[in-house]
C-alpha cells in the first residue's frame, strides 16, 4: 500500500509499505479516505520530537472505511465509515473511565506522560498513522465513531482533532459570559478555539499571530478581532491597554513549541534545542492574562523544559489548564454543533493533495505557502 514515509527532518515521501495487520483482538483495519496534516505533525517533520524514527508514517487525523475487524470487536463492522479520534484509548483504565481518553495508560509503553497517538513518533506509542491507504486502529470499539449519513466527510475528518482541540482549549478556559478571550495563534486550532470561545459566551475574542493571510481568515471565519504582533513592539503591553489595563480574562496558547516573536526563545528553543521548543506564546499568555485569570494550553511542547515566567504564574494566581484533547468525550456535543450549523469546520480546508505528493503538501504547510491553512491528503484508493 502507499503510505507517507518519514526520512528525516524536512524529508518525507510516499512509499510502498506492507499492509497493516490485525495484531490484537480489538483491532480494526481502516481504509483511509481522507487524512489531514496537523500543525503538530510539523513538529515531527521538523525533527523536534524525540524518538521519531525513520520509516514511520505520520497522521493522526483521518477517516475511512472499516476493512477488517478483530475477533473481539463488537460495535463496528466491515463497511462502516468511521472517523477515528487521534487518541488511542482503551476505555478501561482509570484515566479512560474518567473521561481522560487523551491520557490512556494502556496505549503507549514508551512514555507515561502521554497516551498513544496515531502516527506521532515512538514517544506516543510507535503507531503508524493514517497518512496512508490503510491503517491499523487498536481498541476499535472505543475510539472510532460511525460518521452520520448527513455529515460531510471533510467535517468528519476535522472532528478527529482540530475542532475538538480548539473547542477544549476554550472549554479549559472556563469562559464566563462576557469574558475577553485572547487566542495566541491563527493556525487551524487557534481558528477553532476562537470560534468555540463564542459558544461559551465570550464577550470579546482577540487573535494574535504574525501571518497576515491567517489573521484575515480567522477575522472573517470567527468574527473576531485580529492583531499582527509584528506590528507592535510588545504584545503584552498592547493587550493590557486593549483590556483597560486589566489583562485578558482567559488566554489560550494555540501555538506550542514553534512560536515566533522572541529571538531568545527562537534561538534557544528552535535553533539550539536547549529547551523543548520556543515558548513565546505561553510566555505572552501568562503575562497578558489578568490576576486570577486562566491560561489554557493546547499547543504542543516537547518533553523536557521550557523558559516561562513561572514566578508570574504564582504572583498573579493564574490557573493553568492543559491537556491532550479527549476527542471521544467531546464528539456528541461537537457533532450537534455541526448539525445545527453553528460551526462549519470544513471551511478551513484550503488544500486537497494526492497522497503521492505528500512531500509537497508538507512543505507547503510548513512554509505557509499558497495561503495554506489546512491541507488534506487523499489516498489513490479513495480517488477511484
Amino acid at each position: 500500500m502507499l503510505a507517507m514515509n518519514y526520512r528525516g527532518p524536512y524529508r518525507v515521501r510516499a512509499d510502498q509499505k506492507p499492509m497493516p495487520e490485525i495484531l490484537h483482538p480489538s483491532d480494526a483495519i481502516v481504509r483511509v479516505t481522507r487524512a489531514c496534516i496537523c500543525g503538530s505533525d510539523l513538529h515531527l517533520y521538523h525533527g523536534l520530537v524525540p524518538d521519531t524514527r525513520v520509516g514511520t508514517t505520520f497522521g493522526h487525523e483521518f477517516v475511512g472505511v472499516v476493512e477488517e475487524v478483530g475477533p473481539s470487536v463488537e460495535t463496528l463492522k466491515v463497511g462502516d465509515t468511521v472517523l477515528v479520534p487521534f487518541n488511542v484509548a482503551c476505555g478501561k483504565c482509570a484515566f479512560c473511565k474518567q473521561g481522560l481518553f487523551g491520557n490512556c495508560h494502556e496505549s503507549n509503553p514508551q512514555a507515561t506522560a502521554v497516551g498513544g497517538i496515531f502516527g506521532y513518533s515512538h514517544t506516543a506509542g510507535g503507531y503508524d498513522g493514517g497518512q496512508a491507504e490503510y491503517v491499523r486502529v487498536p481498541y476499535a470499539d472505543v475510539g472510532p465513531t460511525i460518521i452520520p449519513d448527513w455529515m460531510d466527510h471533510d467535517d468528519a475528518v476535522l472532528l478527529t482533532d482540530v475542532f475538538p482541540t480548539g473547542y477544549q482549549a476554550a472549554e479549559m478556559g472556563g469562559i464566563k459570559p462576557g469574558d475577553t478571550v485572547v487566542v495566541f495563534g491563527a493556525g487551524p486550532v487557534g481558528i477553532m478555539a476562537a470560534k468555540s470561545a463564542w459558544l461559551f459566551g465570550a464577550g470579546r475574542v482577540i487573535v494574535i499571530d504574525h501571518v497576515e493571510y491567517r489573521l484575515e481568515f480567522v477575522k472573517n471565519y470567527a468574527q473576531c478581532e485580529v492583531y499582527n504582533f509584528r506590528s507592535m513592539r510588545d504584545p503584552v503591553l498592547f493587550l493590557k491597554k486593549a483590556t483597560d489595563w486589566f489583562g485578558a480574562d482567559v488566554c489560550i496558547d494555540a501555538v506550542g513549541s514553534e512560536a515566533s516573536g522572541s529571538a531568545l526563545q527562537t534561538i534557544t528553543g528552535k535553533k539550539l534545542m536547549l529547551q523543548a521548543g520556543s515558548a513565546t506564546a505561553l510566555h505572552w499568555a501568562i503575562n497578558s492574562v489578568k490576576k486570577g485569570g486562566i491560561v489554557s494550553i493546547v499547543g504542543v511542547y516537547g518533553p523536557t523544559d521550557n523558559l516561562i515566567p513561572i514566578g508570574n504564574v504564582v504572583n498573579k494566581g493564574i490557573t493553568i489548564r492543559a491537556n491532550q484533547t479527549s476527542v471521544k468525550r467531546l464528539l456528541p456535543k461537537l457533532i450537534d454543533h455541526i448539525q445545527a450549523g453553528r460551526v462549519d469546520p470544513k471551511a478551513i480546508i484550503t488544500h486537497r493533495v494526492p497522497l503521492e505528493e505528500v512531500s509537497d503538501a508538507y512543505h507547503i504547510f510548513s512554509a505557509k505557502l499558497d495561503n495554506c491553512i489546512k491541507p488534506i491528503l487523499i489516498p489513490p484508493s479513495a480517488r477511484k
Partner: protein, 174 residues
C-alpha cells in the same frame, strides 16, 4: 466518605471541608475515585510481542497494545536502548533519543542505497512546491547556499596554498 472517616477517626477534623464539587479538572475529568485503585483495573488482552518494544522505566510492563512501526535497530537502536534506562524525567532519556534520531537519518540513507534506491532529497523536501509557490525564495536560498559553499571552498583551498607556501619558505631551517 463515611467508611474513610472511620479509618481516620483518630485525626480530629479529618475531611471536614472536603467538597466533591471542588474538582479542578472538571469538565475534563469525571471523578470516580478509580485513581485510588492505582493500576488495578481489568486489563484488556495483551498484544503479542512480535518486535522489540522499548518501554518507559516509569511503568512496570508494556501497555496492552502498542505500535510495531520501525523497531529499534543498528547504532540508533543501541542509543535508544540506552536512553530507556533513564526515566522520562531525565535528560539522559531525551537527549540520546534526539541523537539516535539523527543517526537514524544516516542509517535511512544507507538503507535506501543498499536497496538500490537513491533518495531524491530535493523531492523529499518539497522543492517542487517551492518552485510553484515560492520561486523567488527558492532561487535566493540556492544562491545563498552556493555563495556560502563557494566561499568556504575558496577559503579552505587558500589556507592549503598558504600552508604550502609557508612550509616552503621555512624549509631551509630544517
Amino acid at each position: 466518605m463515611e467508611n474513610k472517616a472511620n479509618d481516620y477517626a483518630h485525626i480530629n477534623g479529618w475531611g471536614i471541608d472536603a467538597d466533591p464539587r471542588n474538582e479542578p479538572t472538571y469538565p475534563l475529568k469525571n471523578w470516580t475515585g478509580d485513581d485510588h485503585k492505582r493500576l488495578n483495573w481489568e486489563r484488556p488482552p495483551l498484544q503479542p510481542v512480535t518486535v522489540e518494544v522499548l518501554h518507559s522505566n516509569e511503568r512496570p510492563n508494556l501497555t496492552a497494545v502498542f505500535g510495531t512501526s520501525s523497531p529499534p535497530s543498528g547504532l540508533s537502536g543501541v542509543i535508544r536502548r540506552y536512553a530507556f534506562t533513564f526515566s522520562e524525567s531525565e535528560y539522559g532519556h531525551w537527549l540520546p533519543l534526539l541523537i539516535a534520531d539523527r543517526v537514524n537519518v544516516v542509517e535511512g540513507i544507507l538503507d535506501d542505497l543498499t536497496r538500490g534506491h537513491i533518495p531524491n532529497i530535493f523531492a523529499e523536501k518539497g522543492w517542487k512546491a517551492d518552485w510553484q509557490h515560492n520561486r523567488a525564495g527558492l532561487v535566493k536560498n540556492v544562491l545563498v547556499t552556493a555563495v556560502i559553499a563557494t566561499t568556504v571552498v575558496a577559503l579552505l583551498s587558500r589556507n592549503k596554498t598558504n600552508r604550502k607556501r609557508i612550509a616552503n619558505k621555512w624549509r631551509w631551517l630544517t
